[in-house]
């Protein structure tokens, strides 16, 4: 069966109501906004969102009423501070939040990736994050007796990763910072790879060190240029800082947020339409201006 799906098909097939979805795994870079917007358009309900520092995509999916629980280290607008819809949802609507730390998100996913029930750490001892939190149990090291935290394994139903390029089998090249993407991909039951470009398999195979997602873990590959906008994709487009600033200004009330969602999500018919709405000038402004290529790498023998 082909994995080469449209965004609409991938979300319809792999993100059912009630699913736990790990996304925004590379932190502020390569956030799968196009995939998140499709989740909103398909009106998913009862989702659990999983992520480390989670920029405004979480706020948008929460605002659309898709989310029952958040398991994350941070939810907001990284450049501007608070995210208003997340705040409203927690303060007024009782959105459930399991607070983790960046490191413990990584450890929970890594434990799942390794097939063990937990991993030990020294982080968060004495903090209130660990108190009454199902992801933390204090225990004594069986070797030294030292006090440690066990961080429980976390298996997402689906992980969504945005990358620069992938082949049709889902073997994916990614460069830039990885955050918790590699362990999330290994931990999740299913993986959606969203790529700026689908390329021939030979391109990916030419540089196996850059293949951070092996295709056999991938359920769907979606080609989606500009799919991470307004977050940056190294070598493709820079961060649209103004967009994050405008989002902050334009989502202070529920009503304004509804209007924002209508304009940028519900009112557009997929990513191409969204990019048209952004306009050619803005897209051109975000494009790479000064190329910086890595040195060629000799794999010959």
């Amino acid at each position: 069966m082909s994995k080469d799906l449209s965004m609409r098909e991938a979300i319809a097939d792999l993100v059912p109501d009630g699913a736990s979805v790990a996304l925004g795994l590379q932190m502020e870079q390569m956030i799968p906004f196009a995939a998140g917007h499709e989740i909103i358009r398909q009106k998913r309900r009862g989702l659990t969102l999983i992520g480390p520092i989670s920029d405004i995509l979480f706020d948008q999916i929460i605002q659309a009423g898709c989310v029952e629980r958040v398991i994350a280290a941070w939810v907001g607008n990284v450049m501007m501070g608070s995210a208003y819809n997340f705040r409203r949802a927690v303060e007024k609507d009782g959105l459930k939040v399991t607070n983790l730390t960046n490191f413990s998100v990584a450890l929970a996913l890594q434990a799942a990736a390794m097939g063990v029930p937990f991993l030990p750490t020294r982080t968060a001892l004495g903090s209130d994050i660990a108190r009454d939190n199902p992801f933390f149990v204090e225990f004594a090291s069986p070797f030294s007796g030292e006090r440690l935290h066990a961080v429980k394994a976390l298996v997402p139903d689906v992980a969504i990763a945005h990358v620069q390029r992938a082949d049709r089998d889902g073997n994916a090249h990614c460069w830039g910072n990885f955050g918790v993407m590699i362990e999330a991909v290994r931990a999740a039951k299913r993986v959606i790879v969203v790529a700026e470009e689908i390329v021939e398999a030979e391109v990916i195979a030419s540089d196996p060190n850059r293949t951070v997602i092996p295709g056999f873990l991938v359920s769907a590959v979606v080609e989606c240029p500009m799919g991470a906008h307004p977050s940056p994709v190294q070598g493709y487009y820079k961060r649209d800082d103004a967009f994050f600033r405008q989002y902050h200004e334009q989502t202070k009330s529920k009503q304004d947020s509804d209007a924002w969602r209508q304009r940028w999500v519900q009112g557009v018919n997929g990513r191409d339409d969204y990019v048209n709405q952004l306009g050619a000038c803005r897209v051109a402004d975000l494009a790479v201006k000064q190329h910086a290529y890595a040195a060629a790498t000799e794999f010959g023998y």
Partner: protein, 276 residues
Amino acid sequence: MDGLCASRRDLNNLMSATVPISSPATVSYTLSELMVAAAAREIRDGELVFVGMRLPLIAFVVAKKTHAPHAIGLFENGVIRSTPAAELIYTMADPPNILGATQCLDMLGVMSLLQSGRVHLGFLGAAEVDRFGNLNSTEVRGTKGLVRLPGSGGACDIASLAQRFVVLLEHSRERLPERVGYITSPGNGEGTGWRQRAGLPRGGPSAVITTKAVLRFGETGEAYLASVHPGIEVDEVLAATGWKLNSGENIGVTPEPTAEELQAIREYDKDGFWTS
């Protein structure tokens, strides 16, 4: 209460309301610039530093260009840099922070360096800091109900595991309560020995740089007033602190930014997004 969850930009606006400060030497600088310079001086040459964003990011740039050229910056997204990014960044994952990095991998890698004790210093922001240097960036429950803040991010990890950490925040009674309602990031807990009893391997707060003063921590684990910023009276600091802040005889004045430091700040934050 809403001030607690104001964006950092709002905080910066608030800070800039008190500027410019003029010194006898007629060097004019903003309060943010003073705080950045003070933060930069917390970095020693050759140290591994969890940089964070906003003012501490600029402090790292200043330290690198002045007294600590061999400091190395770590970012929790997986980036490690021996040189500052070539242009101003708003998040640690902005493309200029990737280009020319020393290493660019994953979070587990940099967090491993932190947990194994190799990281000397981490910078943190917070909504609240208390008497023992415990930080809250998760939630505040006050008379107006719950205020939800963004959360830990990597702050709890840095406070738990770095050899020492430094906090930057606005100075007010709201932001500096006697006890935080929620310990997102552990400081000295309830005092001496608390961190060891909790199982934390090392570390703790070494300084709190506020909009009025610099606090440091004594042997009891409690904060004391180490210096006031130029033009700020000691009484003003005490009145704006939510507990009876220890202040000895030898309260200094926070050194003003040097011309070299100001140049480094302004070359980097050209439009004053973080430091105006």
